[in-house]
Every structure is written in structure tokens, then in C-alpha cells.
Symmetry: C2
Subunit: 212 residues, 2 copies
DNA sequence: CCAAAAGTGTTGTAACTACACCCATGA
DNA sequence: TCATGGGTGTAGTTACAACACTTTTGG
């Protein structure tokens, strides 16, 4: 492996949906600065490494998550954003189903775990701004592309999808309008299956329709 | 001035509106690689320099344009985008009125001038992709924010504004719908003045309304 | 008076909002 | 049978697209 670029890093916001909560994947930092603090997974880019590859590698090394769909959502380049020296960081965002991966702390991560978005302490550096940027990106994209495909289980009742939308958008949505919209837009496909194990009336299951 | 970051540069797409054409500002490169080719103005970022400041500086040094509103529109980080070594470039875009600035080639620019968007030869490196990215950004933003404020003269007839929209969006717009829209959205304000010097019926002048 | 550009209204459609009740099931 | 979440329809509003003629002026 060649040299790393000292002034360029990638950071990743990985969102997951679990226990009816929207969560982000954080690592506990091993080294100074900010040792033992929870922060976004991130690290340097190598000289001969495409930036997105770097993001994939970093996620794998630090958290065990691999081969997921990543999107660039911003650049963070304040001169003093990192205390030790100038680092410009490129922010990536991904959506995953937590149950799909076994978390595995590695490299400079002491621990990895999912943290509920709304009950986070202050993160180091500019990671709170990064998280905000990622959330805003997510809100923006939500109705444009079927990006939830990696956040929702394969089959789900519509009301669960609605809850997730509400969690992300942070405001309530009218149930009838929501159903009309996702169905008429062809975002989802109704299955001939009903949820089981609920305490009440079973719901029809849907799956996301991905445009060819 | 401190060291430059060898792997990080900024490039700028500056759009201008002149002679009823949408133009981009290009420099003729002084040095290898691609000496004597027209390309986007760009250069390295210094270690202690905020990225946008770098873009402002680079524009001033190369073209004489200064203190304009710049927006980040993308990152170009392909490993081999620049032949000599790895450079990640951050792309900025600006809109200016050509008549407001005197162009002044400096630094590694041999010449500077405005080039009509639709009759450009192939640009070096990935500058064509950058231009496309900037154009797409412009198309996207066009109806969202009054970004034309720096592209149109202070006072203009509505039909000129429409022409500019058509140039950018690359398709025709219905004149009545256009007028209704920009007026009802409060984008423009009608003045008590008419254009002079035209060969036909004078038009009322408008100015852009900037939201507080 | 004529050429050229300025300016003007209506109608249909699609998308969104707001809103309240009955239904099916498991306990 | 009842508590719980699942599921449905209508009406008003707003934004947009399509479309053709009259008006004003300078030459």
C-alpha cells in the first residue's frame, strides 16, 4: 500500500433503522486526539486510492461493514477542524440494515456500535456538523429515490415505512396521504402476505420497487 | 505564505452572460502539462488557507476577478485525473456580469477570456466533466434561488431574463407562463422604467428581488 | 403602415393538503 | 368484547402546461 495523503480524509455517516429508531454507526476512538470518544468512522485516503474506495476500506477496517452503497454528501475543510494539522475531509453517507452486518471494531476503533440519532452527546471535531449534513441530505433524497431500500427490511408493512419517514423528516405524515403517494408513485409493491406476531390486526406486507 | 497542499486544488467555473450567450471564463495555460490549452482556472490550496479563500485567490491571481460569490459544486478525485501526480480538486462555480470586471491574466495564465458554452473545444484533464457538473448545478438552482442576480444586469426586460433561462435550461419556455411564474413567486419587481434604444416597442424593466 | 418585439387569460390536469371513521384481529 | 393498530375516500387548493392573439413602438 502506498503513502497516505496527510491532508485528506474520508468520514462516513452510516444510518441504520433498528427498534423503531434511526441510528448512526459510531466508533470509540482508540488514539489521541479525542481518545475514547465516540465519533464518526473515518481515516486518511491513500495516494493511489479512489476516494470512494477509501471510504469503503475505512468502513471495513473500522467497523466490519463492507460493500455498501455510499454517496458523497459534502466536504469539510475548515483550517482548524482537526487539531493536529490541516485535514480536509470528504463526507460519505450510507444506509444499511443493522441486522445484515456483524460489527467488528478494528484499526483505530476500540468499539463500534449503533447510536440513536436524537440522543447523541457532542461528537469530536466537526462530526456533529457532518451528521447534520448527512441528515439533511437524507431528508432531501427521501422522496426522490428509493434510498430506503437499504434501511428497511425486505418486506415491511406500510406503516413501518411511514414511521421511518417520520423519523427522518422529524414531522408527522398523514397516513392516507402517505399510502396514496407511495402507491401511486409506484415506490412500493403490495405482497400477498401479512405480518404475523403482532398483537393486533396483521398488516399487508410491501416491498420496495426499484426502478430498472 | 505557507506551503501548498500538493494533492489538493480548486478549480472554478465562472459563468457570464454577454451578447445573449452563456459563457464560461477560461485561461490559456502557461505551463505544462497542457500548455497553451484553454482550461478552467484552478490551482493548489495552501496549508493554512480555507478552501473557498483559495478559490477566490486563484481567481484573482489568474483572471483578475475578485470578491465574487462562490459555491462548491463538487469534488473530482479520480486517481489519474491529473497526469503528473494525484490531485483532488474541489470545484467552485460563480456567476458574474462580464462587464463588471477587467480580465487580467496572471500567475500561470497566459490569457483569459470568455468562451461561449456551446462552442468549446475539448478541455484538458476532467475539465469538461467539471463544466457539465457546474451547468447541472446551475440548472438545478435556477428556480430555487435568485442566483441570476450576478448574471443579469441590474435592470432588464423580462424577455431577456427568459432568454437567459432558456440558454441555461436548453429548452424553450412559454412566455406567458414564465412571466406569471417569476412575478407570482416574487422573484422580480417591476420598475417604472422602459428600455430605450430598441428598434421596436420598449419593454418595462424589472429588477431581481432578493429575499431579506 | 408595417415589421418586430411586448404583453396578456383561460382551461385542463396533476399533485398535495386536510380531515374522521370503520375494520380486523388477538388477547 | 374490547383495545390496538390497519386501512380507506373526498373535497379544496395550488402549481404547472398548453395554447394565439392584440398592443405598442420605431422606421
Amino acid at each position: 500500500m502506498s503513502d497516505k495523503i496527510n491532508n485528506l480524509s474520508v468520514d462516513c455517516v452510516v444510518f441504520g433503522y433498528e427498534d423503531n429508531q434511526l441510528k448512526a454507526l459510531l466508533i470509540k476512538r482508540d488514539k489521541e486526539p479525542e481518545a475514547n470518544k465516540w465519533s464518526l468512522p473515518g481515516s486518511y485516503v491513500y495516494l493511489d486510492e479512489p476516494i470512494e474506495k477509501a471510504a469503503q476500506r475505512v468502513l471495513l477496517e473500522l467497523t466490519g461493514i463492507h460493500d455498501i452503497f455510499l454517496t458523497q454528501v459534502g466536504i469539510f475543510g475548515e483550517v482548524d477542524r482537526y487539531p493536529q494539522h490541516r485535514v480536509i475531509s470528504i463526507l460519505y453517507c450510507a444506509l444499511v440494515r443493522p441486522e445484515m452486518f456483524e460489527l467488528l471494531a478494528g484499526s483505530h476503533a476500540k468499539e463500534v456500535s449503533w447510536h440513536e440519532i436524537n440522543s447523541l452527546e457532542k461528537l469530536p471535531f466537526d462530526h456533529n456538523q457532518m451528521l447534520d449534513a448527512a441528515l439533511n441530505w437524507l431528508k432531501d433524497e427521501l422522496w426522490r429515490k428509493p434510498i430506503l431500500i437499504n434501511l428497511l427490511p425486505e418486506k415491511f408493512p406500510l406503516n413501518q415505512m411511514q414511521e421511518l419517514y417520520q423519523l427522518i423528516l422529524q414531522n408527522p405524515i398523514d397516513n392516507r396521504n402517505f399510502r396514496k403517494k407511495v402507491i401511486s408513485q409506484g415506490l412500493v409493491e403490495k405482497l400477498n402476505e401479512k405480518s404475523k406476531g403482532g398483537q393486533q390486526r396483521p398488516a399487508f406486507l410491501y416491498k420496495l420497487k426499484v426502478p430498472l
